[in-house]
Symmetry: C2
Subunit: 428 residues, 2 copies
């Protein structure tokens, strides 16, 4: 017998169906018992008699056969009059760690300690459907624009920025690191002839932060693009990509957005403002002082507010970060070498992207390494590509969990992570 | 001016175009110079005069404007009469490590040492286009069949199979491991309500193998599916999935398959044969003795040959592996508990998948852990899900590089890996 998902039952009126799922709720009226069955796609009311309820407990997994009937009062407008019920996943508990069928009131730490139980709540699971569709739209858009997907090593021999804040791995008889980003490799793959590449992969940061917006292991959406004119090509790409993703989510995640009671931002055009200018505005408008060559978290929030009021945009590109605040491979501005062709994208007060044009000339790059106090010989595996015709290129990285968190208006990045890794958590 | 890819030039006869790419070949006839330009999509002949050739060297990156003209003798049937040429990626070398424009004769180790240079050869890069399309078809098929993509941690606190052959990571003040597979987590996500999940992610094996078919870091295509009847549902899924992938590749990778001079296998139906039976056949037909409860590498090759002759199939499922050879979570056969509901998929002599049904009952699973000499308390993060209604489920994992290698008929798995990690190689 064919299994039906709950979402498809409305069109199955008066027909016999097989459904599968978990017991979400039991409402026992004595002679008649209403059981809410939960599957991947939704909730449906089962109508059982006294005899059929025998042994049923919350969260058991069931296979149920019965006839679909209209019931305007039931969720989804239908219910199932049950013929047969088979317990396929037994309950072995005294009590649940918390009520799966209530949406609020469970502390995040408790949820994370019992992650697979908390995820059974449809509202807790909804951000991950949205996350899925972000990834789907991201790769769809890039493939349509001639980008190749790459998979680069996460076990590396040396750090992109000198090896600080990296996790170390014992790799047979040698010491290796977990990659902070695929930065060097994605650039190398541009030079290897792929021209345009993207990667959806883990990145690792051994940062001593334990905040609502930091994870020590996260999914990085990385892009690198060759044969560009300058960093504006990269910002153009990101703007267009984000429009595509938002459009895709509005089309494919209606149910989840409703469940989360959020509306997605609308992008018409994203303002591009030089960092220095942003610092001045913050000082003038809010009497807010910013750290040298940067904004702090408060500054990002205030500046987002300013941009929202002035340009009606939830996003803003901050451009021309000082060279002293950017990695060694960042392209300086020709006539103002203390500034770079780099940018951050701030979305509703939070940085979700860092990007820019990279140095592509071998001599300029090795000189810059020396100026940064690095030894080019340590980076020969990276520099080699630059000796053999490296085109102008640039790229960006988007933190998947950050983007999900902000789109879903979650308060903590862990809510956008199935199984978060932070300073205190490597389990479950 | 709009940039054109080489693949699109045929339709641009007599028109002025901008193309970008690398110098693949220079054929200098004195007054006239033919330069072959290589971009992501192909090769095209540029026609230059004496003056324009100034300073050009192999592998420089160029932007070129010119007029497309018919030339039946040139690759692709067209050439470009060059107006303007701009060197955007300089050459800084005395000589190339090897000729990029020749396809054969470069030792694999040399290629891997200069990976981004070797990948510039279109034939070396072709398997990665095929790999891309395998991944695209894999996720497309699964999404259409209601699977959710998941991203699970690669930093874990304990091993799925007891911690042998794992890389250790210093995770702040504690010791952690790199995940050998997302096995536990994908099962947990089935139980978390996703029901059907897949993951495309790195897996790590600290195995002391240095062979043509082993990598220490590889991409695992993982699937797990809830509410199944038994392991046959999983084999059905894989058979259907592989047909879908092959169909997709035949449609989307014509050029690459031609370049590699390979034909993809055709699947009508994949035979399912019990391991014990296969061992008997090997003994009878080839006088080949197999190790207890398994086939060795030679046995896999011989048995594939037998299946090809007898069933005209390039694939064969070996089923019912003994419990002693399978992990603790493998579902035993009810009346023959020394056998399991597990399988391997052998493709042209190489195992590309391990899969099967898993134990879903909490008591049975903890009992089995004890029988395996494991302490269930060490696995409580995994077992918890099983206390709250875990449905019957199963899944499989496909090694992406192995599948790519076999589809492309490559001799070494490193040829199907951009930047391989093996016992001796963590760079580039």
């Amino acid at each position: 017998m064919k299994r039906y998902y709950v979402r498809d039952l409305e069109s199955m009126q008066q027909q016999k169906v097989l459904v599968k799922g978990w017991i979400h709720r039991i409402h026992d009226l004595g002679r008649i018992v209403f059981v809410t069955l939960r599957d991947k796609t939704g909730l449906v009311q089962l109508v059982l008699d006294e005899r059929q309820k025998e042994g049923l407990r919350l969260e058991m997994a069931l296979e149920v056969t019965g006839t679909v009937a209209e019931n305007p009062k039931a969720i989804g407008g239908v219910e199932i009059k049950v013929d047969g019920i088979r317990i396929v996943g037994q309950a072995h508990y005294d009590k649940l760690p918390f009520a799966v069928n209530r949406e609020e009131g469970v502390h995040l730490e408790t949820q994370l300690n019992h992650r697979t139980i908390s995820l059974r709540n449809p509202k807790t699971r909804a951000p991950f459907t949205i996350q899925n569709e972000i990834v789907a739209a991201f790769s769809e858009y890039l493939k349509e624009n001639d980008f190749s997907e790459i998979h680069t090593p996460k076990i590396i021999s040396s750090g992109t920025e000198g090896g600080s804040e990296m996790f170390t791995v014992k790799y047979f008889d040698t010491r290796a690191f977990l990659a902070q980003s695929p930065q060097f490799y994605k650039q190398m793959m541009v030079g290897a002839g792929f021209e345009r590449v993207f990667e959806i992969g883990h990145a690792y940061r051994a940062e001593l932060h334990n905040t609502w917006r930091h994870l020590n292991e996260y999914v990085s959406l990385d892009i690198e693009m060759g044969f560009i004119e300058d960093e504006n090509d990269i910002m153009d790409l990101e703007e267009d990509l984000l429009k595509y993703i938002l459009n895709h989510l509005n089309k494919n995640c209606k149910k989840e957005l409703e469940l989360l009671q959020v509306e997605l931002p609308v992008i018409t055009s994203i303002p591009r403002i030089e960092l220095e200018k942003a610092r001045e505005i913050l000082l003038e408008e809010y009497n807010k002082k910013s750290p040298l060559g940067n904004l702090d978290a408060e500054g990002e929030i205030l500046f987002s507010k300013y941009i929202k009021e002035k340009y009606d945009s939830d996003f803003v590109f901050l451009t021309r970060y000082p060279a002293s605040k950017r990695p060694v491979y960042t392209m300086p501005v020709r006539d103002e070498p203390e500034l770079t062709r780099s940018f951050d994208l701030i979305f509703r007060g939070l940085e979700i992207t860092t990007g820019g044009q990279r140095i592509h000339d071998y001599i300029q790059l090795t000189d810059n390494m020396i100026a940064f106090g690095l030894n080019p010989e340590d980076f020969d595996f990276y520099l080699e590509t630059f000796r053999y015709g490296m085109p102008p290129h640039g790229g960006l990285a988007i933190g998947l969990e950050r983007l999900t968190m902000k789109f879903c208006q979650l308060e903590n990045i862990r809510e956008a992570t199935l199984l978060p890794r932070d300073m205190k958590r490597i389990t479950p």
